[in-house]
Symmetry: C3
Subunit: 317 residues, 3 copies
């Protein structure tokens, strides 16, 4: 694995999932493979779970991790080719990235979409600049359109909990939110579940919230949430802003919030969310505080997902 | 020791003090007991000494420490039960704390009082939420009403310096300040000195600055600072805002600032302060720059206090 | 070496340079000499390269490093002697530095000049306060007037690349910028090149930009950039504000920007810059993106310079 930017960098999802579950059983089993290696964690946007889980994962492999918060401390990066840097940006990515490539063995990068220019966001402009100029393996810590470490942790969690022989029914359902959010978590989950191929996958959202087909192709789209949830084994709740009318909030319909009563027709479905979650907006307290919520386990599995991917990146070096 | 929130979590103060002095002699003597363990240091309010001393203490025990500054980086926590999270808070403590409990073995937490709602502050609402939801040992890094790591370091410092057979006279004296400060350091010092029982303890302050009796009961209150300081062996200088008229500044009387001339009637008293100190407001330069000041030694002992408590928490796990 | 504040703290520059190149070959060769030691990195001003390279250098020697950003998190330091601290400063350097001296074995400090009061800046007031009160070796991470870790890395880079028997011609040339910058990098480079004595050294800048002679004495000053660049082997591009008319921007002449055509008369000169660089203001894209730019290598050598100096400071303790 040269970089880890999406499921397309993965040869064998099941092998990754199994490896992650092994790390969960024995976190320090590979403490030597990262000895003397160093990862830089560059955040163009803030993070809690991703920062902690990746840092812990790196340490479990014997690596050192150093966090860098860009755009704080006066360190504003310029990304525009040919820019005459007379403004507030103090350093160009063309100069910063190669040096990070000198200081580190792997570079984790988090970028966010602006949600204004679809083409720029979906070209992964910022992430691509890091790939182009750093010269070392890049680990996506969430990019403009995808969040592959989250998706791997999601599949690890489903694999861990579902013990029946049949395929689980997995429903990704849109939920209301107070802000316009990226599509990354939803895009990435769809892309991974499709590539994994071991679930009956349904996506449910109000009309207008269709995701980019390059990620969802193969999934059933069901506009009626009740219909979608029927017989569900896992429900992934997540808000995203519109992809077609890019970055727009098209619905504030509170009926899309997942509540206890909606679980009645499911197969005692487990409820997932990548967190942070807006309680009583996306998901009701009664669901989150019940035994059907597996959000903590899901977030806990972020460590093992990151550790597995880091181990792959180290192996390839 | 399950948690470390106050002196009430301590079985044997003398044993802790002795252990701390042993760690001071040999910081790395127990470098194995924290191997593979991890502490999260969550600051809802900024910190210098507490952050550094706890981080160093953890590393001396072989632990890894990771610092998290809440309410920075857009990570605003919600604490209200049943909140409909449509505002600026992005994550509820009910979701954040269990995950921190998954990522860490021990969680250090610093909270501050709002100084507006006495009941809320004195219920230790924020700290209690972490205890309730994290599911791992909580180490208070200063809470709304107490600062037990500071108090342990204070007693270590007194024990280290006082070599006579009689009980030392220890005076906690109020000092002016430009801001309304919490009562925690004073509350906690009173609580620990009372529980320790090895000092003649006097508290001196202007009328109206009486502390909560649950912490001070057993101490002499003396409103005349000159009378209080007579024959003192140790003088702990500290500002706090009023407890009765909660959070109010009732006096700006500069005569309460500790100056050199006030030390004349003492037994060459050593002067303590938890730092940071407002020079020439709380304490005069001439005192702080003289040999009677032990504030640096006191702050240095924060490491050994933290190391001792962490060792206890690790033992109990 | 007791402190590392300038080239004056160095007995043998060549020995340092050779040591740095050895560390570059084998970064972990001295991993034991810092075991159990701890460095605090105090930034009164932000930093990327210096923070990372020093942190990595310390870890390569087995040390622990902890970063402290002063003036953030409400930790405002007071430096004025005798101050009545009724304002926004919460802690005096006289109290903070001794405690840092207790917590750490070495203290790295970055300060910046205000560029308003030449005498205060050139007395290195802030740095001197740390030296006076911390009581442990101080490592300059760039001060008001000098940047010795940068200069050592600069000389390491020249030594590494220049393989001829004759002396290289090294030209330090002023470049335009949008802000008034300190003179430190230029001062320090001049001071080191002069002390090193192994280069023909020319400084070129518009009239009025003469640097302090205590650093430049011995170098040729050439006001015509074209003349200065002729036959150059290394060109160090850097902006600084005026020293005489202190802190002023006297020229915005874009002709001083280093472009490709200006390299024609050089001996295939290598182009240096300490970074961050304002592209197409100080240096053109065509130069920075060409093979003659060695800025990444130069920044990479910051690690080995820092590691060498830390090893010296540890040896002296």
């Amino acid at each position: 694995m040269k970089h880890f930017l999406s499921v397309n960098d993965v040869e064998d999802i099941d092998a990754l999932v199994n490896k992650a579950l092994q790390f969960k059983m024995n976190p320090l089993v590979s403490q030597q493979i990262g000895a003397g290696k160093r990862i830089g964690l560059v955040f163009l946007n803030p993070s809690m779970r991703t920062r902690l889980s990746t840092q812990i994962a790196a340490e479990n492999l014997g690596m050192k991790a150093i966090v860098l918060n860009v755009n704080q401390d006066g360190w504003m990066l310029e990304f525009e080719e040919g820019a005459i840097m007379e403004g507030s940006s103090v350093e160009h990515i063309k100069d910063a990235a190669p040096i990070l490539g000198t200081y580190f063995d792997i570079l984790g990068v988090r970028t966010f979409p602006g949600l204004k220019d679809k083409e720029a966001d979906y070209s992964e402009f910022y992430l691509q600049q890091f790939i182009k100029y750093a010269g070392i393996p890049i680990l996506s810590l969430e990019s403009a359109t995808l969040h592959p470490l989250q998706s791997l942790a999601d599949i690890v969690t489903i694999e861990e909990l579902f013990r029946e022989k049949r395929k689980p029914k997995v429903v990704l359902t849109w939920a209301p939110h107070v802000k316009a959010l990226p599509q990354c978590v939803a895009n990435s989950f769809a892309q991974w579940i499709n590539a994994w191929g071991k679930a009956d996958f349904v996506i449910s959202h109000p009309a207008g919230y269709e995701l980019d087909e390059q990620f969802t192709k193969g999934a059933n789209i069901e506009y009626n949430q009740d219909t979608a949830l029927k017989d569900a084994d896992f429900i992934y709740v997540k808000n995203w802003s519109a992809y077609q009318e890019y970055g727009k909030i098209l619905s504030e319909d509170k009926n899309w919030m997942l509540t206890r009563s909606k679980l009645a027709t499911t197969k005692q479905a487990k409820v997932m969310h990548c967190l942070p979650v807006r309680r009583n907006v996306e998901l009701s307290d009664e669901v989150l505080d019940s035994a059907c919520s597996i959000v903590t386990q899901q977030a806990g599995n972020r460590v093992w997902a990151a550790q597995t991917v880091l181990a792959e990146l180290l192996k390839a070096k």
